[in-house]
């Protein structure tokens, strides 16, 4: 995999505004403490590769049975990363978790979300989390592979990867709650097959039903928002607004039109594989033909297979498309 692990140790810039934090920090515990820290981590990471950002793992989560929630942010937008998040805590602390205000990130304002995220970080003695930032460039290239990888598959792989990482790190996960937009039953069966020892619940709108999934959705959403705020691109000269990123947003549409390069298309912030992006390139960019589309030009007549053809030419030259040329 091309995942780049942003380990807690690599954060050398911590914002001074969190200095009043009372809990003693060990040298290992350099995990983000608020939304700004998340932004700083995103800024220093590669734009065209996936990466993880993680909290420290609370000791209690290695000793007590934990619940773990999985949710995503930024699935629909035509630009920016899709972020997957997990959030976990001991089952015995579920009521404490509710008090932090963890809920469906979509029902909260940005400010509210960032406040709750800071609370989650403050309670690092029993709440842990990790997010994977899936770069828009990886989304495009995955969907444009010879064997296309669907967005659902990308999503599942990310969720499975995050769950594995939590288990590998020693988190005593016993119950897992997953939010999904696709069919829940099939996804649940897939996860149960990979993690037979876990109790797994996949449900639509799980982020509003289970606070632990709400927590995961907040971690994911705050990360996506901060990534979009701090990311810069060599291809984008002016820092003009790209709007919500949803294809229906006129600001996003205008951004796509104005940053489009006639040869290369869009900056790497954009998901080329979205129909909105494809349509703009179809209509306004220079035409590009890929091998598949080119080779389907008409059908060969049956006769051509029996005609003597280029008898004189040896296979060595045919295989290599080598011909004699006198004229140009």
């Amino acid at each position: 995999m091309m995942d780049e692990d942003i380990s807690p140790q690599s954060a050398d810039e911590l914002s001074p505004s969190t200095a009043e934090d009372s809990s003693p920090k060990t040298s290992e515990d350099m995990s983000p403490r608020n939304a700004e820290d998340l932004g700083a981590k995103c800024k220093e990471s590669a734009r065209d590769d996936n990466f993880y950002i993680t909290s420290s793992i609370p000791d209690i989560c290695k000793k007590q049975h934990c619940i773990l929630g999985i949710d995503e942010a930024g699935r629909g937008p035509v630009l920016g990363p899709m972020v997957y998040g997990v959030c976990y805590c001991p089952k015995s602390k579920e009521d404490d978790l509710k008090e932090t205000g963890c809920a469906d990130s979509k029902t909260l304002t940005e400010e509210k979300r960032e406040n709750i995220f800071e609370k989650i970080c403050k309670h690092s003695e029993y709440i842990g989390w990790e997010v994977e930032v899936i770069s828009p460039s990886i989304i495009s290239t995955s969907m444009y592979r010879r064997q296309k990888i669907s967005l659902n598959e990308i999503s599942h792989n990310s969720a499975i990867g995050l769950l594995k990482r939590a288990l590998d790190a020693g988190v005593l996960v016993t119950e897992v709650f997953v939010d999904t937009v696709g069919p829940a039953e099939k996804y649940e069966a897939k996860l149960k097959n990979i993690f037979p020892e876990l109790s797994i619940t996949v449900a639509k709108k799980a982020d509003s039903t289970y606070p632990i999934v709400g927590g995961a959705s907040i971690c994911a959403k705050v990360t996506r928002d901060r990534a979009l705020k701090t990311w810069t691109f060599s291809e984008i000269e002016t820092m003009e607004s790209w709007g919500s990123g949803y294809p229906t947003d006129p600001v996003t549409k205008k951004f796509l039109m104005s940053t489009m390069d006639p040869v290369f298309g869009f900056p790497k912030l954009v998901r080329f594989s979205w129909s909105t992006a494809e349509k703009i390139l179809d209509e306004h960019a220079i035409q590009v033909d890929w091998e598949e589309e080119e080779s389907s030009k008409g059908t060969q007549s049956v006769k051509t297979f029996f005609s003597p053809g280029d008898k004189k030419k040896h296979r060595f030259f045919k295989d290599r498309f080598l011909t004699n040329t006198v004229e140009l």
């Binding site: 065209d48 390069d261 035409q287 590009v288 290599r320």
Partner: protein, 133 residues
């Protein structure tokens, strides 16, 4: 009919050879493009043998190919003067980056295996074509 080629100058080889690319698609365009901002190959290993890049969202795999010893690469531009066609050499090169769509370049690619001819053709001196009628 032979076409004259002008301005062949071997010393014109430039250092930034890496910017000659062969892409697995047809771009219906001739002219300048903002390669340095949009087309930045990356390599996972240190010797830069296998390269990755994306073009229009498509994943490409590339290798850097040296022009065989004793050969030179030329970029020719057509110039029409009056009615006669003329080619003008605008640049020479010693290497090129060959890209495939989501497939590691190998000897199965005609472009790469065609370079075998450079070695093979040295097994004997040029001969006359006997099959001519």
């Amino acid at each position: 009919m032979a076409i004259p080629v002008e301005n062949i100058n071997f010393s014109k080889e430039e250092n930034d050879e890496k910017c000659i690319h062969s892409l697995p698609c047809k771009i219906h365009f001739n002219g300048e493009a903002n390669i340095s901002d949009f087309f930045i190959p990356a390599s996972e290993n240190e010797n830069q043998e296998e390269l990755d890049v994306s073009f229009r969202g498509y994943p490409l795999c590339g290798v850097k190919v040296k022009v065989p010893d004793g050969y030179n690469g030329f970029i020719l531009q057509e110039k029409s003067e009056n009615t006669s066609k003329k080619l003008c050499c605008v640049r020479t090169f010693k290497s090129i980056t060959y890209w495939n769509w989501d497939k590691k370049p190998s000897k199965n690619d005609p472009f790469l295996s065609a370079l075998d001819w450079a070695d093979l053709c040295q097994i004997h001196d040029p001969i006359e074509d006997e099959t001519e009628d």
